[in-house]
Symmetry: C2
Subunit: 292 residues, 2 copies
Amino acid sequence: MKAFRRVVICGVGLIGGSFALALKQKGLAEEIVGLGRTQATLQRAKELKIIDSIAQDWADALAGADLVLLAMPVGQTAAALQAMKPHLGPGTLVTDAGSTKRDVIEAIYTHLQEHLTQIVPAHPIAGAEHSGPDAARADLCVGRKVVLTPLEENSPEAIARVSAAWAATGGVLHIMSPQEHDRVFAAVSHLPHLLAYALVHDVAGRANAEQLFSFAASGFRDFTRIASSHPEMWRDICVSNRHAILAELDAYLTELAWVRALLVQGDGESLETLFDEARNARNAWLAGQFNA
Amino acid sequence: MKAFRRVVICGVGLIGGSFALALKQKGLAEEIVGLGRTQATLQRAKELKIIDSIAQDWADALAGADLVLLAMPVGQTAAALQAMKPHLGPGTLVTDAGSTKRDVIEAIYTHLQEHLTQIVPAHPIAGAEHSGPDAARADLCVGRKVVLTPLEENSPEAIARVSAAWAATGGVLHIMSPQEHDRVFAAVSHLPHLLAYALVHDVAGRANAEQLFSFAASGFRDFTRIASSHPEMWRDICVSNRHAILAELDAYLTELAWVRALLVQGDGESLETLFDEARNARNAWLAGQFNA
């Protein structure tokens, strides 16, 4: 018998689709049911054999389900939890893939407080600038970190079974508090996305934007790769986690104020020291040897 | 007979080395002589057959030379021009590969004003985060833009022969004024480098830097790739072109002030519009279809 008889994926894009494909490939799910806002996306996911069938609504989806993955943009979490509530039985585990965790957990406590044993929040660190079911791959999470932020109320069995599902994606599991999670990803993920979007937006708004883009090369391309990410998903992340992101943005603005002063002064020596320290830190990180 | 009998490369790193390899591969140079600050680098370039021999000084290097490429960090340009002056004959063409052009041209007018017909400044848009002779490749410039910023005093023959040398690297030639060059590259190259260095430096200085780096993923890696660039080279670019870079940095800080206000207000709609416009502009650029 397979670990999960019926798995529901709400949001069959990059993350939801990849989770589904991994579970299928590992033989962990007998049946995978898709649910979402857009019929065309669900149809496409079915064509790609990411899901076996399309549920009409939560009542339909949750009948006999033993695992649900919420993989929509985080701004839709509260509405999805509310819609699930009347149909969620005690035997159905729930996890999510949201890039922010405090807001998701707040919504869980607000809308599903009678189900706290069975809902184990998660975040696979496996973004890509492509989105939608066509971008899904069974190996998306292989070797990537998957952060779990379990609730105090979670049953040990729920944690174990949800962990097993995420482990089946090939991800490396880490447990963190939601506060720590949101602070860490504000720094190393959310802020860089915001900076990349802002740079492209700045350049695109210039009178000579066409000329500027025509001379932009590989450095610009890689720096701005994440500015091709899903706008709605990043809107929700920025709104949900704005306090932590503002703290990171302000720290960065302080750094830029210092860099600006060095430029004004033409202080090449200090600039070189800064560049050298940054390069050394980055290279040590890539070599797996960063020690603060 | 080959187009160039004796080519001198001052600075046998990524750019100088790649130029030398391309000229050799195309059969344009009979002999390539290297010159530079660091004997070990020159020896390595000779081992890699990037250069045929090592010159002891400019007197030695320039004897019988018909083309010189200056490919050191731009901060060394003025000193190199001064050192060349006593030994530079009228039959030797000079070009450079500096990432900034106004300062290089100012140094040319200051130090070599009797040789303005024969010095044709250039900038191949072919950076990489790796540097040194081991990173050099004959095809580095293939399909990349090479910007020429000729002097009014350049002879047509000098422009034609220097253009032919750069064309042999596979680069696509463009002519610009040095002012325009420096403004364009401040926006699409110099500023992004500064922003990437600043972000890594900011993260590396945190008390929890090790934790932050441990959760940094592919988005952070690509965003910061250019922060592994050559610190001295980028020090010189930032100091040389600081006025144009400051103008770009200030425009970007204005953009960030706006983004910050949207975050404070939790204005998801405006954030999504900004992200959407940025993504569309970037994707249009990648598809070669950007139209402002």
